[in-house]
Structures are given as structure tokens and as C-alpha cells.
């Protein structure tokens, strides 16, 4: 597990709510960053730790849902809080990947559980990304020929079949295959397949 201390961010245009959230996070000793607008949050340079975002749907300027669209690439899990239970809005938010949609007033337990779920999800995401980044780094070391061999190995072809496809000898394929397994640090073919899936190689899609 990641040992980095997680942080919770909250964006609400209501000063009183910001103060209340900050007090609540302080009471449980949670690191928090509180902002009054989406723009302010975007300008902030976030530390590279597991995080969750508590977001008011209705914000002046950039709205909560618009911010979510912009943040989708970064993958920070979002918990929405709103003053009015607008069903279409909550559906849209959940579809876009929100962890939870809370209607004010809500109990701290519900919020904190949602936050811990969000942080857990972020941790997993981060771990996943770290693995993907690692795989990507290893994959980048492969030569063009090795990449082709990897593709066919993952597809389940035998060395002989691969040699026929690439128009080379079975021996050469064996050497390339050995190089792939070493550079990718894969102990077995199934492990190599998992890595290939993580890399989401376009050539593997059917």
C-alpha cells in the first residue's frame, strides 16, 4: 500500500460551508485544501498523493460538472455535494464517474465514508497507473521487431507461426522472444499478456 498521506480537496462557494468542512477535516486530522471556485482549484499545484475532491455542483464561473470534465484525465475521484437534489444532474455526475452525490444537509459519517472510498479508489488508480507507467517504460525499450513478436505471442501464436508471419526463421523468433521476456520482466506468457492488456496496445484490439 501507498504510505503517502492522502489529502482531501473541497470546493464550495459558500464561505460558511467551507469553514464547516475545514473544521470537520481538522477534527479528524485529515489534510485538506479548501477552495471557493473551480478556477482557484485548477491554479493550485496539487501534491502527488492520493486525493479526493468534494465538489459543490453549483459554483460561480466554471460549474462542478464542467470542472469534472476537465479533470477526467487526472482521475481524481469526485464526491458531489449540492443544495438541491436535482436527479438529472446527479445522474450525469455519476455517469461521468463521481464516487457519490450527497444532498445538503448530510451527516459527516456519510461524507467521510465517501471520502475514504474515494481515496481508496485513487490509491488503486495511482497504483495501476504506476504499473502502467512501468510497463510503458519497459515496452519503450523493445525494438520494432521485438514489439511485433510480443504482439503475436500475446495473440497466442506459436513460434513457427510467428516466423511464418514475419518471414524469418523460428530460431530468430526464439531469440526475439527471449529479449521481450527479459526487457518486459515477464516470468511467464500469461504475465506478459496482462502487461499487454495494461498497455492497451491498439494492435491487440479486435
Amino acid at each position: 500500500m501507498d504510505s503517502e498521506e492522502p489529502i482531501v480537496f473541497a470546493i464550495d462557494d459558500d464561505a460558511s460551508m467551507r469553514e464547516a468542512l475545514s473544521r470537520l477535516f481538522r477534527s479528524i486530522g485529515m489534510r485538506a485544501g479548501i477552495f471557493s471556485s473551480a478556477e482557484e482549484f485548477l491554479e493550485f499545484k496539487r501534491p502527488d498523493v492520493p486525493a479526493a475532491l468534494v465538489l459543490d455542483v453549483r459554483l460561480p464561473g466554471l460549474s462542478g460538472l464542467e470542472l469534472q470534465r476537465q479533470l477526467n484525465g487526472t482521475g481524481i475521484p469526485i464526491i458531489y455535494i449540492t443544495g438541491h437534489g436535482d436527479i438529472p444532474m446527479s445522474v450525469e455526475a455519476m455517469k461521468a464517474g463521481a464516487v457519490e452525490f450527497l444532498t445538503k444537509p448530510f451527516r459527516d459519517q456519510v461524507l467521510l465514508e465517501a471520502i475514504s472510498a474515494a481515496i481508496k479508489r485513487d490509491r488503486e488508480n495511482r497504483k495501476e497507473w504506476a504499473e502502467i507507467a512501468e510497463c510503458r517504460a519497459r515496452y519503450d525499450l523493445l525494438t520494432q521487431r521485438e514489439r511485433e513478436v510480443l504482439k503475436h505471442v500475446v495473440e497466442g501464436l506459436l513460434n513457427k507461426q510467428i516466423a511464418a508471419k514475419l518471414g524469418t526463421s523460428e530460431f530468430t523468433v526464439k531469440i526475439h522472444r527471449k529479449g521481450v521476456m527479459q526487457k518486459m520482466k515477464a516470468g511467464s506468457v500469461p504475465e506478459l499478456v496482462r502487461m499487454a492488456q495494461k498497455l492497451d496496445l491498439p494492435s491487440l484490439k479486435h
Binding site: D14, S16, M17, E19, A20, L21, R23, L24, R26, S27, I28, R58, S63, I81, G83, H84, D86, T103, K104, P105, F106, R107, D108, Q109, L111
Partner: protein, 400 residues
């Protein structure tokens, strides 16, 4: 002369009595003149009196009768030869003079009497006419008074009906704003619950942090007051009370209305552009009524814009001081505009282009603005629709 009643019939009793008086007067004159004898030098005097009395009382004919009888009596009793109707030629001029004078007196008296009686008649007629006219006037006056009372009652009824309609319109608008009110209330309630929970956490444990807990409770109290303010505002907008006018900054009223409609604006995807007059001169208005007018215009604008694509929905609100002593408020939208065939009728009562409208919004708005001494109209624009109204600037203690 004859006596007539107002119906034209002679009064025989009076006619008789006037001739009777003539005879009696002559008889009395004879008697007194006889009794006085030589003590009375001029025997004619009392007979003149008799003529005067009877002609005065009975008119020309009784007067003439008296003159004739007097002449006979004088001739018989007092002119030689006595106790005979023969006339001494020596006495003839005197007798003729008496007759002439008596006739003249008779005529003069009766004429005088006639004038007097016609005067009296004229005065009576005039009196009657005056009485009649006065009665007419009193009647007319009563009628006018009852008409005034009727009209006043009708006006009062109208005002009441108008107030009631205005209240219904407000409640209708409030219905549309229910979500906004819920949001306004949930905002402080949300803070209260979070603060309450945080407070419990600070109090729990071995060494509670009382300072943090105290601050949380203070925030709770503040938010409780805030929630109550929302309710007070809502109640003010719905209640039907008599309007009280106060000196206000028009921009503050606009801002309040925006606070109410923010939620609806956002949900309808309308972007708001404000251009408010810096430091506007004050206006003396009924805050609730003015809020209602602006709210109504804003709601109409939002509804109108639902017909156009979301990206082009813009609401403009301008406040501006005019060269004249007026403050102009404009509410414009980027909707499809008002169909010319409706534009002349939109201020009519119960005229509506909405499926579920009651058609009173603009009617009530206009009557509110006019009651404040301003005007409300729809401006001619190429795109969308623009509603304008003016309010007179309060110059009593005005700043500019």
C-alpha cells in the same frame, strides 16, 4: 276687483265681505259725522277715509260703491236742503270735486293694491320655485353622494381584487422558485449539520478541544440565523400585506431578485449580464412589489429563451439614471422576441401566450409601476425582447 284662488275660482266670501265693509264704512262715517255735529267743520273727511278703507281692502269696485254711497249720504244728511237728495247748484262743484277725489283715491288705492298683490304673488312664486330648486339640488346631491360612495366601494373592491391577484401571481412565481428556496435553505442547513458533527468530534475523546467546539457552535448559530433570514424573505414575498414604501437603492432590489432566480437561470443555461448604474439615486418604492415586477420580467425572459438553443441564452439587466428625473430599468433577453400580433395585447388582463399562464403578470407589473409614478413598456428591438420601466427619483433628500 274679484278674488281668485290659485285654481281660478272667485272667493265669494271675500267678495261679499269687501262690499259689506264698503257699506259699513259709509254707515260709520255718517254716524260719526252726525254725532260730532258742528264740532267737525269739514263733513267730507271721514267719507274720504271710508273710500280709502274700502278701496284698500276691497279694491276698485267696493271703492267706487263707497264713493257713490258717500255721495248719497253727504247729499242727504249734510248738504242743504238736508234730508233730501236734491242738490243745491251752489254745492254742485264741491260735490263733483268730492266724487272726483273719491274716484281718484279708489283707483289709486286699488292700483296700489294690485301692484302689491302681484308683487306678493311674484314673491310667492319665486319662493316656491326656490323651494323646488332647493329640493332638486338636495336630491341631486344625495344622488351624487351615493354615486361617490358606490364608486369608492367599487374602487376598494378593485384594489382588493388587484392585491389578491398580485399575491396569487407572486405565489405562482414562488412555485417556480421552490427549488431555489430549497437550495437557499439547504445551504445553511448543510453547514449546520457539518459543524454539528465536527463539534461532536472535537468534544469526544480524552482531551476535548473546547475552543474548536465553541467556534463550531458559533458557526451553527450564524447559519441558523441565515436560514431564518431565507424564510423571512420568502414570507415577505408571499404575504399579502399592505405595501410600505421605503427609500431604496434599485440595484439592491435587482440583486435580491437575481439571488432568487440564480438557480433557475443556471438550470436553464442562461448567462446573465448585468450593467448597473454606479451609485444610483434612491427611489421610494414598495420593495416586495418591485421585486415582484423584476422577478416577473426575469421569469418571462427565461421562459421565452427556452425556445432558443442553450448556447445563445443571455439575459441582460440594466439600471440607468435618465437625463430626466427617472431611473430606467431594462430586462432584455435573447429569446425569439414578441410576435407583433401579441405585442399590443400583452399588457391586457388574462392575455397570455403561455400554456399554463394566468395572463396577469404584466398587467399587475404595469399597475404596480404606474402606482409608483413610473411607466412600463416593451421596447422595439431587432432581436429578443426588451422590457423597460422607469421610476421617479426621490429628490426630497436626493443625492443627485
Amino acid at each position: 276687483m274679484l278674488y281668485f284662488t290659485s285654481s281660478g275660482k272667485p272667493v265669494w266670501g271675500q267678495v261679499f265681505s269687501s262690499y259689506f265693509i264698503a257699506v259699513v264704512a259709509v254707515w260709520l262715517a255718517v254716524l260719526v259725522t252726525l254725532c260730532l255735529g258742528s264740532a267737525l267743520k269739514d263733513k267730507v273727511t271721514l267719507f274720504f277715509c271710508a273710500v280709502m278703507v274700502s278701496s284698500w281692502y276691497g279694491g276698485l269696485w267696493p271703492g267706487l260703491l263707497t264713493a257713490f254711497l258717500s255721495w248719497l249720504a253727504l247729499d242727504y244728511y249734510f248738504i242743504a236742503p238736508f234730508y233730501s237728495l236734491d242738490v243745491n247748484t251752489q254745492e254742485l262743484p264741491d260735490m263733483l270735486a268730492f266724487i272726483g277725489t273719491a274716484l281718484f283715491i279708489s283707483w289709486l288705492n286699488s292700483d296700489q293694491r294690485k301692484v302689491k298683490s302681484s308683487l306678493r304673488q311674484a314673491r310667492d312664486e319665486l319662493d316656491a320655485k326656490v323651494r323646488e330648486r332647493t329640493a332638486d339640488l338636495v336630491r341631486a346631491n344625495l344622488q351624487v353622494q351615493s354615486e361617490i360612495a358606490e364608486r369608492r366601494a367599487a374602487e376598494e373592491g378593485l384594489l382588493q381584487a388587484q392585491n389578491e391577484l398580485a399575491r396569487i401571481a407572486r405565489i405562482t412565481t414562488m412555485g417556480e422558485l421552490a427549488a431555489s428556496i430549497a437550495h437557499e435553505l439547504n445551504q445553511p442547513l448543510g453547514s449546520i449539520v457539518v459543524n454539528g458533527d465536527a463539534c461532536l468530534r472535537w468534544l469526544a475523546g480524552v482531551s476535548p478541544n473546547l475552543e474548536e467546539a465553541r467556534q463550531a457552535v458559533e458557526a451553527i448559530i450564524r447559519d441558523g440565523t441565515r436560514a431564518s433570514d431565507v424564510l423571512v424573505r420568502t414570507r415577505k414575498l408571499v404575504r399579502s400585506g399592505k405595501g410600505t414604501r421605503e427609500r431604496l437603492d434599485i440595484n439592491s432590489v435587482v440583486q435580491e431578485v437575481i439571488a432568487w432566480s440564480n438557480d433557475k437561470l443556471e438550470r436553464s443555461g442562461v448567462s446573465l449580464r448585468l450593467k448597473l448604474q454606479d451609485d444610483p439615486p434612491p427611489v421610494t418604492v414598495d420593495r416586495v412589489q418591485l421585486q415582484q415586477v423584476i422577478l416577473n420580467l426575469v421569469m418571462n425572459a427565461i421562459e421565452a429563451m427556452l425556445e432558443v438553443s442553450e448556447s445563445s441564452r443571455v439575459l441582460w439587466i440594466h439600471t440607468e439614471k435618465q437625463v430626466l428625473d427617472d431611473l430606467l430599468v431594462q430586462v432584455a433577453d435573447s429569446g425569439p422576441g414578441i410576435d407583433p400580433k401579441h405585442s399590443s395585447r400583452i399588457f391586457e388582463p388574462f392575455y397570455t401566450t403561455k400554456a399554463n399562464g394566468i395572463g396577469m403578470g404584466l398587467t399587475i407589473s404595469r399597475s404596480i409601476i404606474e402606482a409608483h409614478g413610473g411607466r412600463l413598456w416593451v421596447a422595439k428591438t431587432q432581436h429578443g425582447s426588451t422590457f423597460c420601466f422607469t421610476l421617479p427619483i426621490d429628490r426630497k433628500l436626493g443625492r443627485g
